[in-house]
Symmetry: C3
Subunit: 136 residues, 3 copies
């Protein structure tokens, strides 16, 4: 059994955002045993899983990315879409475009401290489209 | 057909560890054709696949992470759980929280030199929980 | 329903290469709803998804990797296979060894600007083997 949902997230500002609830609210009844794949249909934003409790984890993560994938690196050639664009492509390669999460007893089987993050790497990325596939 | 196994690894010291055998030993008969997803239920350790032969690949990888995701970066705000904590969150974003591996003829269909690594990024991470989902 | 295909890509030079067509050409009819997992059976090359339009995204991404995962770092111990080898292992951990892509209406459900990249991190990596698993 496979179900798919395409959803569009509200527009988030540049930064790392906890979206576990946004995802869960879009899913109908989840199976007893299965898996969910969440795929972002963009190349300048990413998805990851990390600590859901202290928001400073998300701001520190953003600062790490900004420091280690700088804007205006002298070797960039893909600059026409703005200083935030090529770094966003690189950062999204580092995070990846999809998550695969087990489902158990009708729930995403995340660890206690795990949440789903949207990594919005553009200054004005717009509403991002996700394709969610549920297997059971 | 979906089967799930939750296992707890023995506690490993900080570092990168080959755990292919730990995984294989926990699985019952694998299908002729399918896929295994291995998901780590933590935000300060990760999973990756890399060279299983020379242990120096694992120590060099650990050194790379330590050098490029430093402890005590002046911009970290999430510091209350120790100097190794925020770097562990960042490193686990880089590696990712899950692996998806094809299964063929009852075996993980890894390349000759591929092994499964637990990346233990905390000094004292404890026994890490994995959720293994087998599809066939 | 699960189908698997093992394919060998032509040898690519060191760099980041768009291989969406190579993948699509290897797949028979794709299902109405499903998922494809593409797994690279190597530890010194990776797979990622990013912008398919401007080739400078791929060259900038390669330059980022070369700058941030240098050859001949003084702490490397795994040096016997050449200066490009240990960096290739590290880079492939950053990109990851597999992609999971939703399938809808018989097509890979990628975003408009998304393409599949082979990241060839070795100078002479040879023809890389991919294991493609289709779920429906």
């Amino acid at each position: 059994m496979i179900e798919q949902y395409e959803i569009t997230l509200p527009e988030f500002r540049r930064g790392i955002h906890l979206i576990t609830r946004h995802i869960e609210n879009q899913l109908n009844t989840l199976p007893d045993k299965g898996m969910v794949n969440i795929f972002i249909k963009h190349t300048s934003a990413g998805l990851t899983i990390n600590e859901n409790a202290d928001p400073s984890v998300r701001t520190d993560l953003e600062k790490y990315f900004d420091k280690n994938v700088p804007e205006n690196a002298p070797y960039y050639r893909h600059t026409i879409e703005g200083a935030d664009d090529m770094p966003a492509h690189i950062k999204s390669v580092i995070t990846g475009a999809s998550l695969t999460i087990p489902v158990t007893n009708g729930r995403l089987n995340l660890g206690t401290w795990q949440g789903i993050f949207l990594c919005e790497f553009r200054n004005h990325g717009g509403g991002r489209k996700l394709l969610i596939t549920v297997f059971s």
